[in-house]
Symmetry: C2
Subunit: 500 residues, 2 copies
C-alpha cells in the first residue's frame, strides 16, 4: 500500500499487533491459572493462531518499504516517535527473520513440551520429556540460526537479544567472571559467619491459605499494587502476565511456610509495578514496552531482595505477620524474622535460592543451555551434567530430576537465552537501589513506615516511565551514574551478610 | 489466490477464524468474571481488534470466488462437508454485509455501553445510559439495514437471523399469538389454584456461599458437566461462555436464597452440555457450531425447567440440599421444595421469572425492541413504555428502572433480536423433553435416582451431535416428529401446574 505518512501507518499496524499480543497475554495467564486441563490443545490452537497473526502483521511484504520510508523522515519525529521507529525496526528484524511455519511450529512445540513437563516434573521422569524437549531444542536452534543471520550475531546472542535487546554472551561472560572471582569466597565467609551465630528459630505454622492471601494483598496494596488494574492469583510457577493496564501476578501457597508465597508475591509485585508504570501514551507501541528482561528482573529483585528482605521493611511487616496468623513469641520478633529472611544456604531450587547462591544457579543454566544449543551436550546427558555442575558450583546434588534439571519451565517453554537476565537483573537491582538511596534521603525510614511512595516515585521516574526509549545501559547510566556492573551487588552482599 | 481445492482452503480459513473467535470467547468470559475494572478499555481494544481480524478473514476479497467454486463441486462433498459449505456461505453473507469500520464501531460501542450499563443499573439511572445506548441503537440499525439488504429480509429479521438462522418475525408473531391465546387465562387459573392451597414454607437461611458452590458442583457433576473441560465461576449476569472444549459457566450467589444460584447453575449447565456435546470432528468449523439460540435456550430450559424443577429431580436433590446446609424440618421436605420451585408469581425480573410468566417478559421486550429499531419508540420513552407493558402483560409495575428496563444486558451489549429465542427455546424444550420421555422408558425414574445418562444420551444423539448439519425445525422434526410449536409447552404447563 502507498501512504503519505509511513510512520503513522506503522503505528497503526503495531497497535494492532499489540492488541493481538495483549489478548495472547491474558490467554496465557488463563492457561496457567484458570484453564481446565482438558482444554490444553484447544488453547494451544488459539495461541498459535494469534502468534501467526501477529507475525503476519509485522512481516507483511510492504513492511521493509514502510520502515525505510519512515526512517528517511526520522529527522522530523520527536524523541519518542524516533525511538518507537527504532524499536519497530528491531521487532521487525526479529520477527521477519522467522518464516510463519517456524513461528507456528515453535508455539505448538512449546505448548506440547510445557504440557509434558508438568507431568514429567511431578513424576521426576526426565526421560518422558526427551521427545518433546528434543523437538523444542531443534526448533530453537532453527530460530536462533535464522535470527543470528538477520542480526549478524552468534546463535546464542540472537536468542538472548530477544529477551535483552543488545545483550551479548561476551558481556555476560565478563560479568559472570567478575562474580565468580568473589562469590564462592564470599559465600564461604557468609556460611562461616552464620555457623558461628545461633540458628534462627523456625516460624510455627500451619499458615492457612486465606490468611496468607490476605496478608499478601494487604502488603502489596501498601507497596502500590493497584487492584483496579491487576489481580493476584495462584499458579504452579509464579509469574507476572497480562498487560500494563491489567497486571496479573501469581504465587503459590504452602501452609507450612508462608514466606515462600509472600516473597514470591513481593517479587512479582516488582514486575507488576514496572508494567503498570510504563508510559501511558506509548504502552501499545514498541517504545512503550518494558526495556528488556534485565530491567524487568531488576524491578522484581529490587522489590523482593533489596527492599523487602531489608530490615526496614521487616520492621514494618513483622507486626502484620504476627497479626495475620495470630502468633507471638521469640520466633516472631523482627530480629528473628530478618535473620530467617536473609538466611543463606546452598539448595537445589533456583526460585527458592537466597541472593548469594542464586547467581550460581544461573551460571549453571547459562553454561548448560549454551552447550546444548551448540550441540556440545546431548539432551540425554543433561541430568548428569546438571548434577555435576551443582556439585561443582553449589556443593549439593539433587536426589532426583524434579529437584534438578526438571525444576524450571524455561527450556520446555522455549525460553532459551533467558537465564542470564536473572543475574544481570540482580546486579541492576543492587545498582538502582543504591542510587535511589543516594537520591532520596530517608528512603529506608519511609519503607520502615510502610511508605513506598518515595521508592516507587523514583523508580517510576527513572525506570518505569522510560519504557524502551533508550537501551538498558543508557537507562542505568542516567539513573545510577554507570552502566551495568557488579560493584553495587558486591557491596550490597558484603553490607547485608558480612557487616554489623 | 488460486487453489485446486477451494473447499479445503475454506476449511483452513474458517479454522483460523474459529481460533480467533474462541480466543475472544475466553477473553469475554474473563471480562465478566476475572478482569479488574480498570482494564475495561484495554480489553475492549483487544476484543475489537480480534473482531476485525475475524471479519477480515471471512470478508477477504477472494472469498466469493472460493465459495462459488466450492459450491460448484458440492456434489462430491459428503453430507457434513456439504452442510459446512452451506454454513460458510451463511456466515459470509452475514459478515460481508458489514464494512470493517462498522464491525469495529459495534464492538467498541457495545463495550462502552455495557460498561455504562453496570453503573446505570446499580444507580437505577436510565438517563446516564442514554448517550451510549443511543450510539448502540444507531449502530445496530446500520447493522440491521446492511444485513437486511444482503439477506433480503426486513431489518428485524436480519438481526434475529444472526441468533437464530432462518428465524423470522412472522413466525415469532404466530407462535407468540398462540401463546397469548391461552397463557393469560392459564396464568389466572394457576394463581387461583395456588391461592386456594396453603403457601409453601420458605427455606430458612442463610446459605453460605461455599456450601452453595459445593452443592452446585456436586449436582452438575452428577448431571454430566465435565470439569476437565469446564469451570463454574461467578459473574453479575450468569452466562455460558468459552469453547466446546473449555466450557465456562457462571452463576451468582445470594446467601439469603440458594435456589437462585442453583437454578441458574443448572440452567447454564444445559447450555454447557450442548457445547460440550457438539460434534468433535467439526467444532472448529461452522457446521460444528450450535445450531442457533432457539436450540441453545431449549437445552438450558430443558435442564432447568423440564428436568430439574420436576418432581423426580427434587426427590433426588432434596436430601443433598438438606445435607449441604445441615437443615431439616417441614420446609425441607420434597413436597415443600417442589412447591417452592414450581411457584408461579408475576414479578419484575425476567431471569427470576417462573416458566408460566416468562414468555410475557419476552413478549414485552420483543415488542419494545421492534418499536425502537423501527423508530416508533424513542429511547428516552423506553422506561415509560416498559412500565406500561409490564402493567398490561403482568399486572405489576417496577418501582425503578433497575427492576425495569435496565435489568438486562442484551440491549447495551448489542443483543437486539435475541429475546424471542428465549421463549422459542422454552417451546422447543417442552417438545424435546416430551419426545425424550416417549423415546426412553424410565427417563424420569432414572433422573429420580440421579442418573442423567439416559436423558443426556438422547440429547447428545438427537440435538448436540447434530451441530449445524440441519436447520432448527429439521432437527426438531427428526427428534420430536414436528417443527416448533406451542402444543407441548401448553401440555407441560397444564400438567405441572393444573393437574394432580
Amino acid at each position: 500500500m502507498i501512504t503519505n505518512d509511513p510512520y503513522a501507518e506503522l503505528e497503526r499496524r503495531f497497535a494492532r499487533m499489540s492488541a493481538v499480543n495483549r489478548a495472547g497475554a491474558i490467554l496465557n495467564w488463563d492457561r496457567s491459572t484458570m484453564m481446565p486441563d482438558g482444554a490444553s490443545e484447544d488453547r494451544a490452537d488459539q495461541l498459535a493462531t494469534l502468534g501467526v497473526i501477529a507475525h503476519e502483521i509485522i512481516s507483511a511484504a510492504d513492511m521493509p518499504d514502510l520502515l525505510s520510508r519512515a526512517e528517511e523522515g526520522k529527522g522530523a519525529l520527536d524523541p519518542w516517535r524516533a525511538a518507537n521507529l527504532r524499536e519497530m525496526r528491531r521487532s521487525w528484524v526479529h520477527e521477519s527473520a522467522l518464516p510463519a511455519d517456524l513461528v507456528e511450529a515453535r508455539s505448538r512445540a512449546c505448548n506440547a513440551c510445557e504440557h509434558a513437563w508438568r507431568t514429567a516434573k511431578t513424576n521426576a521422569d526426565f526421560k518422558s520429556l526427551l521427545p518433546t524437549l528434543t523437538e523444542v531444542l531443534t526448533i530453537m536452534r532453527r530460530v536462533g540460526e535464522a535470527k543470528a543471520a538477520a542480526l549478524g550475531t552468534s546463535l546464542y546472542d540472537a536468542l538472548l537479544d530477544e529477551f535483552e535487546p543488545g545483550g551479548r554472551a561476551a558481556r555476560v561472560d565478563v560479568l559472570f567472571g567478575e562474580l565468580r572471582a568473589f562469590l564462592p569466597e564470599l559465600l564461604g565467609r557468609v556460611l562461616e559467619r552464620q555457623r558461628s551465630a545461633p540458628a534462627p528459630l523456625d516460624l510455627d505454622g500451619p499458615f492457612p491459605v486465606d490468611a496468607q492471601r490476605r496478608l499478601g494483598e494487604e502488603l502489596i496494596r501498601i507497596i502500590g499494587f493497584d487492584f483496579h488494574h491487576g489481580r493476584l492469583d495462584v499458579s504452579a510457577h509464579p509469574f507476572t502476565g497480562g498487560t500494563a493496564d491489567d497486571v496479573r501476578i501469581t504465587t503459590r501457597y504452602d501452609e507450612a511456610d508462608f514466606a515462600r508465597a509472600l516473597m514470591g508475591t513481593l517479587h512479582e509485585t516488582g514486575h507488576g509495578l514496572y508494567e503498570a508504570g510504563l508510559p501511558r501514551d506509548w504502552r501499545r507501541q514498541p517504545v512503550g514496552n518494558a526495556r528488556g528482561m534485565v530491567l524487568h528482573e531488576s524491578q522484581s529483585l529490587l522489590m523482593e531482595m533489596q527492599a523487602c528482605r531489608g530490615r526496614s521493611f521487616i520492621d514494618f511487616a513483622a507486626p502484620r505477620m504476627r497479626a495475620a496468623f495470630g502468633k507471638d513469641g521469640p520466633a516472631w520478633t523482627e530480629d528473628n524474622i530478618h535473620r530467617l529472611y536473609t538466611r543463606v544456604a546452598p539448595g537445589f531450587i533456583r526460585v527458592d535460592a537466597d541472593e548469594v547462591t542464586y547467581p550460581l544457579h544461573v551460571m549453571l543454566r547459562y553454561r548448560l543451555e549454551r552447550a546444548m544449543l551448540a550441540g556440545d551436550l546431548a539432551l540425554a546427558d543433561l541430568p548428569g551434567a546438571w548434577n555435576d555442575g551443582m556439585r561443582e558450583l553449589l556443593g549439593v546434588v539433587p536426589p532426583d530430576d524434579a529437584l534438578g534439571c526438571l525444576q524450571d519451565i524455561h527450556w520446555p517453554d522455549g525460553g532459551w537465552g533467558y537465564f542470564p537476565t536473572y543475574t544481570m537483573g540482580a546486579l541492576a537491582a543492587a545498582q538502582l537501589f543504591a542510587a535511589a538511596r543516594r537520591a532520596v534521603p530517608g528512603l529506608l525510614e519511609a519503607i520502615g513506615r510502610g511508605d513506598f511512595a518515595p521508592l516507587l516515585g523514583w523508580l517510576r521516574a527513572n525506570v518505569h516511565s522510560k519504557g524502551s526509549i533508550a537501551g538498558t545501559d543508557e537507562i542505568l547510566t542516567a539513573a545510577t551514574g554507570s552502566g551495568l556492573g557488579v560493584a553495587a551487588f558486591k557491596a550490597h552482599l558484603e553490607s547485608r551478610y558480612l557487616s554489623a
